[in-house]
Amino acid sequence: MSGRIAHIASNTFREAVRDRVLYNLIAFALLMSGAAILVGQISIDIERLVVINLGLTAVSLFGVVIAIFIGIGLVSKEIEKRTLYTVLSRPVRRWEFIVGKFFGLAGTLMVNTFFMALGVFAALFYVSRHFQRADAWVLVALYFIILEFLIITALALLFSSFSSPLLSAVFAFSLFVIGSFAEDLRGFAAMTHGLTRWLATGAAYLVPNFSALNVISSVAHEQPVAGQLILANTAYALLYATMALCGAVLIFERRNLK
């Protein structure tokens, strides 16, 4: 079972590499080196801040775009090219296919993030000429970004399991935007009354909370991240991704592929 999942995951990774997904690293490298050199000349005293803010924002946004646009095609492309039938005709279960695809894309995103992280730290070294203890918090921010990718990948797969690629992209991106406003949504829900309050609160808790996973600004200011937050965010992201993945498996299991 795990061998089959690993095989599908490695194929998904290889396919993403063949699709030149990692080319975004070139754009990222140019962005980081440009920012590191330019900001010192056009601004005052924020070189380190910009490298961290810009670097982590770019890691996050590049990853979100990859997760959505690759994720939405993971199932539909296989159906369109009819390769899914070849795969499922072998001793591979449908849920194994979905889980394998998920790990494949998550692995691609992790490799991508690893190389981007090297770029961020290289730029950080260039502007500061040394590393400091507080730079370790950047690793925590990167870890949270990976957790964010897990949720988005699972959501993209969920939508991909029942919808067209275009609609899946719209749904996934909308959820990413709404998830960034999750805390505001809960605030709005608290202002309503009665049944509306229950419904609004339910909706606010159902959308993924990406704001808790975004600590870019605070690590840029060398503020530590609480260990409890790291644990809670890890548990939340894994649970949410599992939930979305289960949804995808359930839908895909019942989907008529004829």
């Binding site: 601004s43 005052i44 005293d45 924020i46 801040l49 910009v50 803010n53 704001s211 840029a220 503020q223």
Partner: protein, 308 residues
């Protein structure tokens, strides 16, 4: 020549020509729409809306707005502008997006407070900015220092300056000078020595070369003000003793009133006018001086000479 090769050559040539032509056309458009791309407009003026639109990436947006504020102030300052309409809103947006961006409070207040052409001439907005900074970063003594500085330098409000320095001196790891500044404000707010201490502290506590150059420029100006006052008093005493004004500092030197010809902080000799006034040789090189300038002298935009 094959058809394919023919198309490649034609398309390449056309590409180069159209690219060059479009660049030239863009330059022409820039000329006929001069200033259009640099209008004083903030398309989204609400900091709260911008914070929402940033989708959580508010740190990066704050850095962009801070850079924009620096560029705005720099370009207007270079032009010798007297109006800085967007500076306050840009700083408000920057600090709302990232309330811990202390550099924006420190430098922003310095941009806002001084009178034009040195700054925007908005000391009250500078105070509001510094107070907002203190509210969000209560353990940063530099912000109290900045607040005290504005009260002292731009508003001559010594009690409030003393209060700001006192509050700052109680912050953990505050610079010990803050206590001294608080005491000086309370006792000798308007003294020349107090001003010299203030700029010396600014020089010693900052690592930014522009801030240090600014502090040195002010220290030079204070030195000139002190020298001119001392020399004019001396000339006045000379007249009382001898019954006539000296024709030059050389005359005073020969009479034993001066040990050498007095020079300004840049090494130029001071000039003695026939009516007994003392002037600097190159006033443009000594911004912020209040004494020693020729009658009717209009200072240019200040330029900060190297600090060392």
């Amino acid at each position: 020549m094959t058809a394919s090769r023919h198309i490649t050559i034609t398309a390449s040539a056309l590409l180069v020509v159209s690219m060059t032509a479009s660049l030239l056309m863009l330059r022409h458009l820039d000329r006929i729409r001069s200033g259009a791309t640099l209008q004083e407009v903030l398309y989204i003026s609400s900091p709260k809306v911008l914070k929402r639109l940033s989708l959580g990436y508010d740190g990066l947006l704050a850095d962009i707005y801070w850079t924009r504020a620096v560029q705005y102030f720099g370009s207007k300052h270079f032009e010798g502008a007297r109006e800085y309409a967007l500076l306050g809103p840009l700083l408000e947006i920057t600090t709302t997006l990232d309330p811990h961006l202390t550099v924006a409070y420190e430098f922003g207040a310095n941009f806002l407070a001084p009178k034009p052409p040195n700054g925007a001439g908005q000391p009250q907005q500078a105070i509001a900015l510094a107070n907002f900074g203190i509210q969000n970063n209560p353990d940063d003594w530099k912000l109290y220092n900045e607040l005290g500085f504005i009260y002292y330098m731009d508003l001559k409000d010594y009690p409030h300056a003393a209060d700001a320095f006192t509050r700052g001196s109680k912050v953990p790891n505050a610079h010990p000078w803050l206590k001294i500044m608080a005491a000086l404000m309370a006792e000798h707010g308007g003294d020349l020595r107090t001003a010299q201490m203030m700029w010396t502290m600014t020089y010693q506590t900052s690592h930014d070369k522009n801030v240090r150059a600014n502090a040195v420029t002010h220290l030079r100006a204070l030195q000139v003000d002190e020298d001119v006052t001392t020399l004019e008093n001396l000339v006045s005493q000379y007249k009382q003793r001898t019954g006539h004004l000296p024709e030059s500092f050389g005359e005073m030197e020969r009479a034993g009133w001066l040990s050498s010809t007095p020079v300004d902080p840049l090494g130029h000799t001071y000039k003695l006018t026939p009516d007994g006034h003392v002037e600097v040789r190159v006033p443009d090189d000594l911004p912020f001086i209040e004494k020693g300038t020729p009658p009717g002298y209009v200072p240019p935009s200040p330029k900060f000479l190297p600090s060392d």
